[in-house]
Symmetry: C2
């Protein structure tokens, strides 16, 4: 049996790379630039070169590598094909075939958010579970659904696109996806900032939140200090997210929800208020489902990508 | 390889039984009574006897049977245990162990609605697909999620409990589950009747819908005849269901939605209006997801149960 595997996480500006043992130990971690010029034609060759160079550097034979897993910012189907990726200037690519030919190694590909969920299951907040939903609260809201230790890629690679679940009828500004009232519009960092802006416009209660731009961090920092207006905003955010998680539980009923992304840096207070809203809304069977914080931060992608190539 | 398998669908009054070839041909179909007295202690022995009698009758050896699949009205976990089933007067049962000992055959168990989804995938409206969501519009709203040809049972056996996804904030009467505004309250036969009642109370437009009790069938029949008020009600129902399906697509992104249950007897007009609402709400990747009618009717459960024992 092979002892090593690679986990690659492709972003719009850098490609994060990890060399792992198949038991999940990170042996080495590095980054290369994402060269998006000429329709991103260099991205896969650059990755292949970097992988092969690393093997040479470490004196590892290809026979000792289980494969290369790669997470991509776009809709990756179960067979590892991607129809396009705006941030990479890509159209269609068949990743397992193309990167497989370039490296001579087995390749699996997945959507970056889905793959991060797999990473958290393997070595992060979801260790010990096989059924997991990861919610990434960043600039947007991303997600990944793991059923029986496998990513749910979906028919169009849209599995886990939970940021675009509809949660609010009254929103009249469009989401990036073109719809109105998506979870992303009320639970991302941007969404929380918007909730804050709306509340501050109508609420005259004194608050320690100041400045022209109130960020999600400003809101949570004020909340931790007992700010009354921040509490209203956090409560609103938590109710949206908690109710959405309750809906997800009635659909795939995971063992655990893992909350990651920049907003999750607010820490245990975030969990506490989301849990409260979740337990209020969840169907009776599922009220005890665990909600935990992600643990791998920006490394979730390389861990999860590596995990894909291990059966 | 074994040539036969059994599919058993346990309801509160009768147990439907099917003997199948492993390729999905129904060889024989029969029913026995569900004896719920004494905490339903006879139910599994009765099923075992019926299965063994059928083998004798047909001259089939146990070695030629892949196993017995059984669908149950309650939360069945992935390991085939059930914490309880109100309609069967049951507490906890470990079905594979108990029915396995009684029959000497391999046994798998699943929730009845989940199993029906698997049946439709095998020999019904979802043939040719591996990722499917079935929506059963009956007295309530049931559901089943199939990912990669397998039922998503969920951590608490609540996978596919889509009737209890929250869809409407303004509802003030509780759902059977204790929550408010569940899909079941607006998209089941009962839910459609309630939508009708509410609309007729405030709308004076002439309508052909008459009588003290307006059923879902009354509404769809009137809709087919061009009734203006019925069109409002059908539109409301379709918007709830279509928007819910759009949310499901952003979570598990199935190849196909299969609509079954009594309400689906309204036929193509139902599909048409639900599809319209779905396409309006779905994220861009998923707008072309197929929505079809179920084909197996009350036999979906025995087909799906049988399918569980075939890998």
């Amino acid at each position: 049996m092979a002892n090593y595997c690679f986990g690659i996480d492709v972003g719009g500006t850098t490609v994060k790379c990890g060399l792992f043992t198949v038991t999940g130990e990170l042996v080495d971690k590095w980054e290369i630039k994402t060269r998006t010029e000429n329709n991103g034609e260099n991205i896969l060759p650059d990755i292949a070169k970097s992988v092969l160079d690393k093997l040479q550097e470490k004196g590892i034979e290809k026979e000792d590598v289980a494969g290369v897993g790669i997470g991509l910012p776009g809709p990756v189907k179960g067979d590892g094909t991607i129809t396009g990726a705006v941030n990479l200037h890509w159209g269609f690519h068949d990743i397992p075939t193309e990167l497989g030919e370039l490296t001579g190694l087995a390749v699996k590909a997945g959507n970056d958010a889905n793959v991060a969920a797999l990473g958290e299951m393997w070595r992060g907040g979801g260790v010990g579970y096989k059924n997991l939903i990861m919610v990434t609260l960043g600039t947007g809201v991303g997600g990944g659904i793991i059923v029986d230790s496998k990513v749910v890629a979906g028919s169009h690679g849209a599995g886990g696109e939970i940021g675009h679940v509809h949660v609010e009828d009254s929103i009249t500004t469009p989401c990036g996806c073109g719809n109105y009232g998506c979870l992303e519009q009320v639970a991302s960092a941007t969404g929380i900032a918007n909730l804050a802006k709306a509340e501050l416009a109508v609420n005259d209660t004194p608050t320690i939140m100041k400045g022209d731009y109130i960020s999600a961090k400003t809101v949570f920092d004020a909340y931790k200090k007992g700010d009354e207006v921040a509490a209203i905003i956090v409560d609103r955010f938590a109710n949206y997210l908690g109710a959405a998680l309750a809906n997800f539980a009635a659909i795939v009923d995971p063992d655990v929800f893992v909350i990651g992304g920049g907003v999750s840096k607010a820490g245990p207070v975030l969990l506490e208020c989301v849990e409260k809203a979740y337990r209020k809304n969840a169907i009776s069977f599922c009220k005890d489902t665990k909600i935990v914080l992600a643990e791998l931060g920006n490394d979730a992608g390389i861990y999860g990508s590596a995990r894909m190539v291990i059966e």
